[in-house]
Symmetry: C2
């Protein structure tokens, strides 16, 4: 593999700030890699667009990253992963990763009861993308999905550690457990890139409800799958230097930095505005 390719950055894009949890997981797993994050904040959310529009938006984001010579692209967005992964893999030469397949595979691998819960936005749950991905791996798996529309605004308000979040998380988890109707749900997919911010609270709440589930965080699962791919293809940088992170957004950089700080170990800096048409 020519050295120049190894030293190229990894591109990560999302419709907004949520994908920062994926970027953060990639950063934790790969401290020496350079990362470019693109948040298409002017067109967020993708969830209520038509599939054709989503493919068009995702393609324009991926093109920006390809123009910056990335060696791999991560679609850090559930909606875009569900609709645009195949199109992007066809359109571009660099490998493209979505969040749905890695999280689904992790869930099937860890679940003993093969009764798997999935929480996400209304659009993700309604799309049944995780259910299809899980049942493609194990047709006998039972999947129970619940939309949790309050989680995204809770996280974006920076309220993840408040009493409000505590009450909301408990209410949704009780509803999810009720859905499974006595089956022993032993695995829960956090099927929205915002939800890793609520992970500890979800874990605590499950413990307080005396429920034991392994949480499959789509951010971590995707980072893991990216690492394996790059390692197999000898595409990881051979250096002890820390990698840099650059941020591009299509709307206001300041608002992005302010909201984004809840999502990461180190808050986003070097945020620039770009226009995408």
């Amino acid at each position: 593999m020519e050295e120049s390719k190894i030293d190229r950055p990894i591109g990560v894009f999302d419709s907004g700030v949520g994908g920062l949890t994926v970027l953060d997981a990639v950063r934790q797993a790969l401290p020496h890699e350079d990362l470019v994050y693109l948040g298409d904040t002017a067109r967020v959310p993708y969830g209520n667009r038509t599939p054709q529009t989503i493919v068009r938006y995702a393609t324009s984001c991926a093109r920006q990253l390809v123009n910056r010579h990335v060696k791999a692209i991560v679609i850090a967005c559930n909606t875009a992963s569900a609709h645009a992964l195949d199109a992007l893999n066809e359109a571009f030469d660099v490998p493209v990763f979505g969040v749905i397949e890695p999280a689904s595979r992790m869930a099937v691998d860890v679940s003993k009861s093969k009764c798997i819960g999935i929480i996400g936005t209304r659009a993700t749950i309604a799309s049944q993308a995780y259910t299809r991905a899980i049942q493609a791996i194990d047709p006998n798996a039972h999947v129970y999905g619940l939309a949790c529309p309050l989680f995204v605004p809770l996280v974006e308000e920076g309220w993840a550690e408040t009493d409000v979040a505590r009450l909301v998380v408990r209410k949704y988890l009780e509803d999810l457990i009720a859905l499974s109707n006595g089956h022993e749900m032993d695995t829960l997919i956090l099927g929205c890139t915002h939800y890793p911010v609520l992970k500890s609270l979800i874990q605590e709440t499950l413990a307080s409800l005396d429920r034991h589930m392994v949480l499959c965080d789509c951010a971590q699962a995707t980072a893991k799958s990216l690492v394996e791919h790059l390692k197999d293809r000898h595409l990881l940088r051979q250096t002890s230097e820390s990698g840099w992170s650059d941020y591009l957004v299509t709307d206001d950089p300041q608002q992005f930095s302010a909201v984004g700080r809840s999502f990461m170990h180190e808050p986003p800096v070097n945020v620039s505005h770009i226009d995408i048409v």
Copy 2:
């Protein structure tokens, strides 16, 4: 005025379910009128669209209502009112009402301190549409706006009467009061069509914080302004019969009926699907 025109229905449209609070206020004020509600649920929310797109969507909704021979149109949506009111009034012969001007006028009329609070979605607050409307009426008015992004999902989940709602309402009202920085805010505009569902809770919470504010509910203000207009022009039906209500939506009618029941004294029935291009 020819009789046939008097007997025509009143058209109300919104990007989704929120406008049902406006429809409900119109129904309470005008029990004998026929009403057609159009919820453009396939394209909700309008808040993150470009102004050009919002005008295009609003025009297509208004055209559907004009084709149904309405005698007046209410834009029961803050985003569409901010961007499309003038365009619709130019494009169509029937009078068109928005929600922003009536609520702003009501607030200026009732406020003694001329220190007015406004709560709404992120898009509405960022647009400064209410601030401009209020200061066009009274240039000396002070206006303090706060976005409350958890209110819409709270209402749509049917959680308006839960402990979660109680905590969230208190948090936002405390933040709003802090914003006004010692000025005596005596009037609060509920600048989102979802918020009337939280009105009693907002009122109780203000009382518990020992704050006295008149709530200007954009639904009631708009209904009041519509009634005055129709009365002045002798366009109110002369009958003791109850009027009917018809509902048209561009996405799933069932989900609309389910979510819509929190918004009205009588839940929506006769919901049909239509396509708008």
